[in-house]
């Protein structure tokens, strides 16, 4: 099966930032077999007219808890939600079925907004995998390991066992991959963190966790005269496998450690700004050579799973933090949302740019939207003017998952109705926290 999208403004995100103003991309099965300016050679089984569109690589969401859809708009302005009602509500009302349906909904939201790869950590992660597998999205999924009772484990030991089983069950799957996801630096014991790292080494995969995010986390390490990153490094788990989420509060020494060990960072401005937590020092991370990609965080954090929203916040927060308008010009932002994400996952050779031989993960963005005219700079239009509503077509691993702005493989009406039904006990349990939400 050969498909060609032509007459689009193609942003390749290749090593020399090739842009084809009237370009094409030809896809065979799951791979890009050709791209360039003009119409391309030979015939295709399917020709898609990309006129008036921007064709970009599929986006990579490096940090998500897709199944947390039921929490959206709950207590958005409430401090320390995590301990006050998120943890308790999860433990009392998060079920396998709810994780499956919510994840599928979250994945639908991601595909619909041009995300073709995501990293997720939650509970009942096998249900997230089931949803990811069905949907066509590329996924890196980690069963959360936490040293307290969780919806699917009594303690970190049980979490580690579930995580190991998950890694076994999904080993060798092309699109859905297992990773290791200890919760955070203060919520997991040092022993369990090391066991998690051992598991990541054993299965040769990514280890992701929340780090240098929370005020109480920073206070705890300050009292011990150290930092979360320094602590992780002393445990031996800061290495090229590490994908550290948030990293809002970093010392110059932390940044040097991350850079020296080859670790990557997920920047989540939508989540961090809304929580009033601060603005991560991405300029300094970038200067030190630490790969930084973007994450939406969960649907109650951001509050959308659209990386277009994240792309808009990332540069304006950095420009503001450093009082310098020149920082993170739009094309670097598009890079962070695509190839930068792939690089952080060591998958740069496989996807993240529109180049011959790469996986066919791509997004065609319509420029019909009122705020997308004029367009002196297509990167700028994507970052500052576009949104999920402008996404016309999405191909994930060679399969068209969104066309004409609609999901091809998921019936939203049915899914929403199933999810509403499954959410009833959850919403009843949430009543208990009404004064906070």
């Amino acid at each position: 099966m050969r498909t060609r999208i032509s007459h689009a403004c193609v942003l390749t995100l290749d090593d020399v930032w090739h842009v084809y103003p009237d370009g094409y991309v030809t896809v065979e099965d799951d791979r890009i077999i050709d791209c360039g300016e003009g119409r391309g050679d030979g015939s295709a089984d399917r020709e898609i007219d990309g006129r008036g569109g921007i064709l970009m690589p599929g986006m990579v969401n490096l940090h998500c808890h897709a199944a947390m859809v039921p929490f959206r708009t709950m207590g958005d302005d409430c401090p320390d939600r995590l301990r006050r009602f998120l943890f308790p509500l999860e433990n009392s009302a998060m079920t396998e079925e709810l994780v499956y349906l919510s994840s599928l909904y979250g994945i639908a939201e991601m595909l619909r907004s041009g995300t073709t790869t995501f990293v997720d950590m939650y509970y009942f992660e096998e249900q997230v995998a089931r949803a990811a597998e069905e949907s066509g999205i590329r996924a890196y999924l980690g069963e959360t390991v936490i040293s307290q009772k969780s919806p699917d484990a009594e303690n970190a030991g049980e979490g580690l066992a579930r995580c190991a089983r998950f890694l076994q069950d999904w080993a060798g799957h092309d699109r859905v991959r297992g990773i290791v996801a200890p919760h955070g630096t203060t919520t997991v014991s040092p022993q369990a963190l090391q066991a998690a790292h051992q598991l990541a080494r054993e299965y040769d995969t990514i280890l992701t966790l929340h780090a240098s995010e929370m005020d109480y986390e920073m206070d705890a390490f300050r009292k011990k005269g150290t930092t979360p990153i320094r602590f992780l490094d002393e445990l031996g788990i800061v290495d090229e496998r590490l994908l550290a989420a948030h990293c809002i509060h970093l010392t110059p020494d932390d940044i040097a450690v991350l850079a020296a060990r080859g670790a990557s960072v997920v920047h989540c401005p939508g989540s961090n700004l809304k929580a009033g937590k601060g603005i991560a020092p991405v300029r300094e991370l970038a200067e030190a050579g630490v790969p930084v990609g973007l994450g939406t965080d969960g649907p109650s954090s951001g509050n959308t799973l659209s990386l277009f929203d994240t792309m808009r916040l990332f540069p304006i927060a950095q420009k503001t933090r450093y009082h310098d308008r020149r920082l993170f010009p739009a094309r670097e932002v598009v890079y962070a949302a695509t190839r930068g994400g792939a690089r952080a996952l060591h998958a740069d050779a496989l996807y993240g740019s529109l180049e011959t031989g790469k996986k066919a993960d791509l997004v065609l963005v319509s420029t019909e939207g009122l705020s997308l005219f004029p367009m002196y700079n297509p990167y700028s239009a994507l970052v500052y003017g576009a949104g999920s509503a402008d996404v016309y077509l999405v191909m994930a691993d060679g399969r068209i998952v969104v066309e004409n702005g609609r999901l091809t493989g998921i019936s939203l009406t049915e899914l929403k109705s199933d999810l509403q039904r499954a959410m009833r006990p959850f919403s009843e349990a949430a009543e208990k926290y009404r004064n906070m939400i």
Copy 2:
């Protein structure tokens, strides 16, 4: 003509924050004649089913240069654009026709995203008025007075004369009102600022200008041992007519002066953050009792004219600035974008909330969008999840200007084609600045 929208979640924004979860609003001609829970009494000429929608007051954009559409995505990452290429390019290529067509395009973008009132300052402002009058939007328009050559005047004297003529020509118009718009605190001579203020008094109208925004502006006043607000106050022009745009850099004394004089402030986070200029101290302004509304600034600043984008940025920037998640809960944000804007224009009694007797300026937002589910808090859904693409219907001054997401009175295809033609000489002139853009 009587129209009723029913079965919507009605956010009235009245004094006690009434919300009707299954409510209606009845409109006769240009006024709301009834609203409440249920279906309402009597018949209507037209019944609109608002099921699944949120009905909110039309939004008020307090600071815009709608005609600057041709500048969008031009040099987004270039410092000091204003003096480096915006002023020169305006002077060499901004024409009456371009102002008319660009303004109409900008107004289309505002209506489409739920804005029913806007404040504008630019050149050839009579062309902006022509576009506003045709479109159905409510407008407060000020011919810019500036002490340098501008596209339509050689100096401030000519600008003042144009401004006076504009005020005369539009006196008594119900929907399109003249205001006075000296450019800024360093770009207009003290004499011209005072003459502008005299004009505002004479015509009993608003005076708006850029204040405490630019680094070079702050430096200039710092050297003189004062501040822009203190300077304006010494000229006698800080009073209840003043609508000061930006106000990023304020001292506690500035805030006290603004509060004591009854002046209002326009907060433009989309513009300020992207320029890396800083985050205005809105918490302190609010604590001092200064009315604060929201502005998008021009289309090359934000880069959209959608107040949904501004609503999302406002609270997250404040929460971050003050490191406090509780600040500006979502309903206060919706207030700032609606009734707060009306209050800043001393028009609170006329529009800005959904109450019997008020002007019929309203927006029906669909909650079909993926990021609008679930919805424990409708204000939160509007602020953190909604965008212009979710706007289903807009009524401005009793007239339906957007229905089913489409503009009823403006042909976008035709307008875009006219604008593209009119922009040709502008785009050619822009070539000179290619290295910056």
